[in-house]
Assembly symmetry: D3
Homo-oligomer: 247 residues x 6
Amino acid sequence: MTRIVVVNPNTTAAMTEGIARAAAAAAGAGTQIEARTAAHGPASIEGYVDEAYAVPALLQAIVDDRSTPDAYVIACFDDTGLDAARCLADAPVVGIGEAAFHVATLVAHRFGVVTTLARSVATIEHNLLRYGMASRCSGVRAADVPVLDLHVPGSDARERIGSQIEAALRDDGADGVVLGCAGMAGLAAELSARYGVPVIDGVAAAVALAESLARLGLRTSRLGPYAPPRDKPYAGRFGGIAPWRQR
Amino acid sequence: MTRIVVVNPNTTAAMTEGIARAAAAAAGAGTQIEARTAAHGPASIEGYVDEAYAVPALLQAIVDDRSTPDAYVIACFDDTGLDAARCLADAPVVGIGEAAFHVATLVAHRFGVVTTLARSVATIEHNLLRYGMASRCSGVRAADVPVLDLHVPGSDARERIGSQIEAALRDDGADGVVLGCAGMAGLAAELSARYGVPVIDGVAAAVALAESLARLGLRTSRLGPYAPPRDKPYAGRFGGIAPWRQR
Amino acid sequence: MTRIVVVNPNTTAAMTEGIARAAAAAAGAGTQIEARTAAHGPASIEGYVDEAYAVPALLQAIVDDRSTPDAYVIACFDDTGLDAARCLADAPVVGIGEAAFHVATLVAHRFGVVTTLARSVATIEHNLLRYGMASRCSGVRAADVPVLDLHVPGSDARERIGSQIEAALRDDGADGVVLGCAGMAGLAAELSARYGVPVIDGVAAAVALAESLARLGLRTSRLGPYAPPRDKPYAGRFGGIAPWRQR
Amino acid sequence: MTRIVVVNPNTTAAMTEGIARAAAAAAGAGTQIEARTAAHGPASIEGYVDEAYAVPALLQAIVDDRSTPDAYVIACFDDTGLDAARCLADAPVVGIGEAAFHVATLVAHRFGVVTTLARSVATIEHNLLRYGMASRCSGVRAADVPVLDLHVPGSDARERIGSQIEAALRDDGADGVVLGCAGMAGLAAELSARYGVPVIDGVAAAVALAESLARLGLRTSRLGPYAPPRDKPYAGRFGGIAPWRQR
Amino acid sequence: MTRIVVVNPNTTAAMTEGIARAAAAAAGAGTQIEARTAAHGPASIEGYVDEAYAVPALLQAIVDDRSTPDAYVIACFDDTGLDAARCLADAPVVGIGEAAFHVATLVAHRFGVVTTLARSVATIEHNLLRYGMASRCSGVRAADVPVLDLHVPGSDARERIGSQIEAALRDDGADGVVLGCAGMAGLAAELSARYGVPVIDGVAAAVALAESLARLGLRTSRLGPYAPPRDKPYAGRFGGIAPWRQR
Amino acid sequence: MTRIVVVNPNTTAAMTEGIARAAAAAAGAGTQIEARTAAHGPASIEGYVDEAYAVPALLQAIVDDRSTPDAYVIACFDDTGLDAARCLADAPVVGIGEAAFHVATLVAHRFGVVTTLARSVATIEHNLLRYGMASRCSGVRAADVPVLDLHVPGSDARERIGSQIEAALRDDGADGVVLGCAGMAGLAAELSARYGVPVIDGVAAAVALAESLARLGLRTSRLGPYAPPRDKPYAGRFGGIAPWRQR
């Protein structure tokens, strides 16, 4: 059996539940999903500041994990803390942003990304650049919907997302769409049916890739920047001990 | 149950067998692998000319397929005929080259590629550029081993491949390695153990990604360049009928 | 005297005639043009599938050629089979796509490309990327005219092409235009006069560059990926013999 | 008078002192430097994990600052937390990495970077890519010296750094050098004299650029990704209040 | 005291005066600005030809300078003659174009450039590419105002510039603006106030960076392409002596 | 008959003669070559300063030309003054640097450039970047031979050039070579024979491309940055009249 721990790096438990449902729906028969919510930090991750404050709890969730899963998934589309998590985790780690990009290029020539707020566009573009995926993306569009409004009853979130999808297909040359927020996990099938193109949800994509890595027996390289951290004093509230030693 | 058809676009049945073994080893419990050998064309694909002559038989294998698999894998590291296959296949298609690149970036910061002959380097570099993966690759190295010599008893193929892996790790800044030929499928585990870094075999990676696409219910977009071909007369030995109509 | 063989890789003889006329009009006094039509394959090349099935006949036309010309021209704007042709031909080979791009940069700061169908855009963009010309191109636009409709009496092809040229000059920052299909060969002079900018036809450009290579005594390098193919068995309908040995 | 607050995001006070000296030496007559040490976190920042845990204390130092300085400098060569700091600070913020890169291009055609440990190379390369500076950099080299060993008496740090500078000038085509660690702040003048090329220290460069922004009256744009964070609940040890509201 | 010589490479003295005012306003208390007008050449620099004829007088102004300033500023947004000036000047040289780009990236995520005439766009784009800044620029827009009309009473120059700024912020994703002509030096504060984003004038930015280099004691590298010119005969009106020897 | 004016922008008549010979050898039967030497300026162009002072005489040679040729060639590998010449000339203008790059990509996968002095490398790299050709070039190497020493009897110039060609082929992955100086014009055939790869001389390549443009009836676009210069006062030694009006 394959065990995957999905960490929601924000502190909204309802969102973790939605992510867990999407992850379970995407998982294979022999895969068990466990979802975790960050113990402290922002209720949603919207921009650089939330991201910065969310990372320690995300890392702590991985460090504290005693379940030795086969892989971790970070369920924030910004791939918040992904690099540091790779250094600390014994198992491979997949971000839902990178997973969505990789999977999208297997079924579409050029994918558009539709995210929540304009302030998240820069981080996503920046990840596309680092991952080498910028040339495969037709553009990142914001639907102007805060993360936590995605599931508010009566919200026009679907209309706003749909309207950006239409623009991506019509104006940007996209022939596939990536949903740019973990909170959009449940919408992919419906939107794909409506627009007749592949619509990729990062949670599902990341679960599939995490299962793939587990099956292939691949683990994060320890030779380069993902080497485990050097031990050293951590001052202040860490009491001198590096937090990853405190488990 | 998931069914994946793996097409070896060269005509060497022994190589198809090795590919089938590697594919089966990588496949999940509920996945059935069927391997096909191209009906006509070169015994191995080494350079632009072999590639050009191999594609029609590869496409025909897909067109003639009545088994309605969940996904296809093209088992040549050059991703020979991948774009055309996507236009023709009802199921998603994954190339072993692209699969290896995508998977490598999930476990390594920068991957090196070790292929067979120098003449294949340009095609691989060209694919890396198209896929957007060039910035994640530390370089493509040739081990100077013809494809069909990889399994000749007494060959020094392993030594030559190993020596290029060492150079990639030491001189090029790689912290992971992609094996750049379908014929190297069986070597990944041993080489990974020897060099202490992730070593990715494209056949295994492609099977995992193909299973992922199948599980996620994703199919090739029909909106862009992967639209089904326009029907039209095909002259000469095609007898006026487009070959993909001749099934 | 310089002899240039122009190969039309589709099987429409009427199109070969138009290409031959354009080639002859562009050729110098001492140059003789011979045009060939592919012996089998699609009536027009529109997208990846047609391209894949057209290449073998194109290569065969070169292999079977006993006329020892000074240069070959491949008269499909996708530069179909160009790399493989370079490996097989004793004389230099020029594609009409690459020729148009190179020539355009000598008379314009940034060129727009106007091609036939949307499905051809990806291949052209991909070639621009490989050739290093992407930064010189303001964009590839499709006139939404099938190749074989270009010369149908009463067709609105010219209007559609003209309207995309206008958009390229007005919206994309182009100051020159490349016609993206061999079938547009006869339109360059008229469109250049109408829009007051250089309009480049690939057939004419390729003939001029082929003459240039012939005059300069330059031949394809044999050191890199254009080395002649390694001999090897070709199974199936090839009867064991590599097709380029069968002349 | 111009007031600049320089924040050392690691917790080693001795290093803050060296940084403060370098900053004061670089500052103009009318500029006052105040240096701060992070209240909690790693003793040095070497790689992704230290970086992730250092950012909150860095941000808190800025949030808690009541001195309304004219500009902030972040004194870690990785530009740790720079984006988030820009969102939170009322004054402009300059990272010592970016400052060194910008200044280097004003006096050299192509600069080499010499940093401490190999694990920091990826972050620096990644910043170069984001900033658009990658094409101006001849390469990032690691001297294999831990940050806190830079000032250990009897250390061979200078020799190791010097030997990488020589390699950058001789092998990589650099005609200028950037010192890639805040702890190297005191070495620039001596190394510049020894090698006869500009050697840029990021602390000095950042102070100069921070003074420039202050003098020019420029402040961080609030229109794009540097907009102030949206207010929202912060759970766990934050007690429900976003940390930047807690001052 | 820091002394900066600002050279206006065109021959319009009224424009030099405006540049001198902007430079003085940006300079620190201890900085003295001297402005020079080119002795011969075009009244304004608009396109490649003016640029080519302006450079010799610019260089001569630097060569003839006996004042041994701490730095030079070239006050044309095209950075006309910057590379050659660096080879000849004993002090560092800063172009107002490059200065504006560097400073803009410290306060904005992506800057737009608004210049005078369409014919200047290509040079600016080309500089952005060389400097590595292209990825940080949202686009270069022309206000369609000749340089010398910028200060003609009753001109609609401000409206035209404002309208391009609006387009850059609204359509191109800019969150900051660079004014692309030395003649716009006086407009930055007003435009910044009106549009609520950082608006950067190159003259002010270059003075600040020139002061920075002077304070940091940095001089142009002599190792690479900025080495002093090799002495050699200069024929014709130079009378056999290289012009930089004729002072 | 086609008439091509080749302008040597340096003032060394002996070098013009060599260029004229190479041009005539490359020209077709019906082409007449006229070579011009710049009336004033440096004896050779080595670096940014020589370049800047050479351009006015080059432009004047074109402006003063009453012979209405079919095309101009600028015979300096740096493509000195090419953009300005295009604005002023009634006929198309080809630089020998760009010509060599374009032609090289038609016969080689990746070309190396071997030039004279290290100080010229930056200009050539910069042109490669602008032209979009950087990705096709394996590297620019300097033979460390001053331009005017190329033909000094007893010079070891050929050995030095040969040794850099060997390094380009062996270490850089080149399969073709571009000679990076007009003064190397006579060496291509011999070096090509010695190393068995295409060796491209820019003078010959430019003559061929100039003939091509003339035959194709293509002229420089007037729509973009190559528009004729705006008329305006030119002060100082120009006596108020723009130099291109003074013919």
